[in-house]
Assembly symmetry: C2
Homo-oligomer: 345 residues x 2
DNA sequence: CTGTTAGCGCTTTCAC
DNA sequence: GTGAAAGCGCTAACAG
């Protein structure tokens, strides 16, 4: 393995009997420099595999071309989709992405932010943890003039552009669809009240019931804490064993719906005939379960793409930064679990 | 938002009437420096929120405390598990992780490597694409003295430590289990012949048949190209419609097994009574499908942890680098799809 | 114990 | 067109 010492501008300058500054400018095709000089320098650089020392350039320019990306969980279909979109986009613009996860723990998120700030990313993409409200650690970025974009799980406490999915509308469409399928006693297993998405979805649910003049009962709304399969199972049992059981359950997320389906199957309820089930997020699992699960697609990849685009725009244009929020449309995916009337939508 | 200009060592030195080097050393509690000086400097630094300029430090030390991580696919349960382990470990050691994906396309992998090399990561963790054989782009890291660790999908063309799972043994155990369940005509839907893992698994399959004196037929071995659900479906059909159909199918991965299950269900075969099915990788979906899928757990998180540990060790100890490979044990997970005798193992 | 000095590799005025 | 020189912020060898 030939330990090739890297050559520097100085080496080029010395060998070619020019100054370092001329060499530097020649490589950038600076208009001042004679074409001939440019040619010669470039040729020499190429021949000797000159590669600028990025560390030096970054230092000089006070830029790293790295952006930070923090999500609650990495092993998560939706978030990995977002990350994928963000990385692909960043790459296209010459940026690398530093990825970290908070595990939905505030302290971990703070640590992750600090490390990223310390390692001098040029900007930050973040989907906050369930425990984040003030977000002082995120304000540190803004204080240093580094742009931040929030996505998916956001807080209005922070004045940054946000990329979200239209949770309200998604939930509304989901419930409207259930109503269209003839369900009339629709329950909702929702997320924590401190979490914005959860509230939006709950409101969409409400509005849909209201607009269609359907019965609403607070007994039919269950609040998840962990948002996992077990909770779905438990709440489904509570709902179905109650004196006034619902005939459809709209879940905050597919994982919860999975638990619901499991309970319904065990308890002998027929899905979708007796009980309709809707998830949210359209994970891979929705296609795999039996019966397949109707859900709302959140276009994670596009979310990643758009968030990264906005961030990079704001990094590159400190003067006219994009301040607008972006709300992506959702997509209703009808599968077996809610398709009682058996026709394709 | 107070635009706080960052203070530098120079500022501290000037204000405290000491030299920059003294300030620098005091902050590091250099033994040469008087306790009193250290106290004063630290106090001042703290009061004025001194933060060292990482870009300058990196430049000086020629280190970034960033490591690169390249996988074929990000939206992939196994790989995201590995990434999660690697990131958590890196964080613990003060490193950040730059993540990128190759989409199993050689050119993308080369680009990803180049960008990472250019952005001066201190080392690289990589699981190569299906199209990578020589890996010249990876050798560029080694040529610059930057350590590389390969994991999961590896090639022996590159002289780097490797962290893998014992594919041979995993496959052997899987097939042995099938045999123990009374299956005797066991087919294998395998991966490409150029891919090492695929070969290891195929050999484990062979060896298990051989050791138990079971019939082997090349008709029972199908070679996947895309390794997806559709191929599983198609090959299952081919196998079951052939003159001498198998009574069990061992699949290169859970996704393929999913297609197999789907075909078997449609064609009316009872699983596991008539036909046993084994996957590999133990994705989330294995617990979700119906019947649940027996599989081999590859301990992705541990793989990430170990690979990151090795890399960081090798970055920090250029003199005595770890050269050994690490092969993690797999775990047989028995679920419904192969559990014909209905007892727990 | 502390200061002086040199320098990492590059960019960018400012001269000529 | 080109060069000289300064400096980004920090570290470390050397000197005292």
């Amino acid at each position: 393995m030939p330990e090739k010492r890297k050559i520097t501008l100085k080496d080029i300058a010395r060998e070619l009997n020019i100054s370092v500054s001329t060499a530097s400018r020649a490589l950038k095709e600076h208009p001042d420099i004679a074409d001939e000089t440019i040619r010669i320098v470039k040729a020499y650089a190429k021949e000797h595999h000159y590669v600028p020392n990025v560390l030096a350039v970054n230092f000089r320019k006070n830029r790293t071309y790295n952006i930070g990306l923090i999500v609650p969980e990495l092993v998560h279909h939706f978030f990995s989709t977002v990350i994928s979109g963000a990385i692909d986009t960043a790459k296209k613009h010459g940026y690398n992405v530093l990825v970290s996860q908070s595990n939905d723990i505030l302290d971990d998120e703070i640590t992750a932010c600090r490390t990223m700030l310390a390692s001098s990313v040029d900007g930050l993409l973040i989907s906050i943890s369930n425990e984040t409200f003030e977000g002082e650690h995120i304000k540190e970025f803004l204080a240093e003039g580094k742009p931040v974009i929030q996505f998916d799980k956001i807080t209005d406490e922070l004045e940054t552009p946000k990329v979200t999915v239209d949770d309200f509308e998604g939930a509304y469409q989901a419930v409207k669809h259930l109503i269209g399928q003839g369900y009339s006693k629709i329950a909702h297993i929702r997320g924590r009240k401190e979490v914005k998405n959860a509230n939006e979805r709950a409101e969409g649910y409400h509005k849909a019931l209201e607009d269609h003049g359907l019965e609403y009962s607070s007994d039919w709304v269950k609040v998840c804490n962990m948002i996992n399969e077990e909770e779905g199972y438990q709440f489904a049992r509570e709902l179905m064993e109650s004196p006034n059981p619902p005939d459809a359950i709209f879940c905050i997320t597919d994982l919860v719906a999975l638990g619901v389906l499991k309970y319904l199957k065990e308890a002998g309820f027929r899905v979708p005939d007796q009980v309709g089930v809707m998830g949210f997020s359209n994970w891979k699992l929705a296609e795999i379960v039996n019966p397949t699960l109707s859900s709302i697609d959140q276009h994670g990849y596009e979310m990643g793409v758009n968030a990264a685009k906005m961030l990079i725009h704001n990094i590159n244009n400190p003067e006219k930064r994009e301040e607008e929020n972006l709300m992506l449309k959702t997509n209703l995916i009808i599968r077996e679990s809610s398709n009682r009337k058996k026709f394709q939508n």
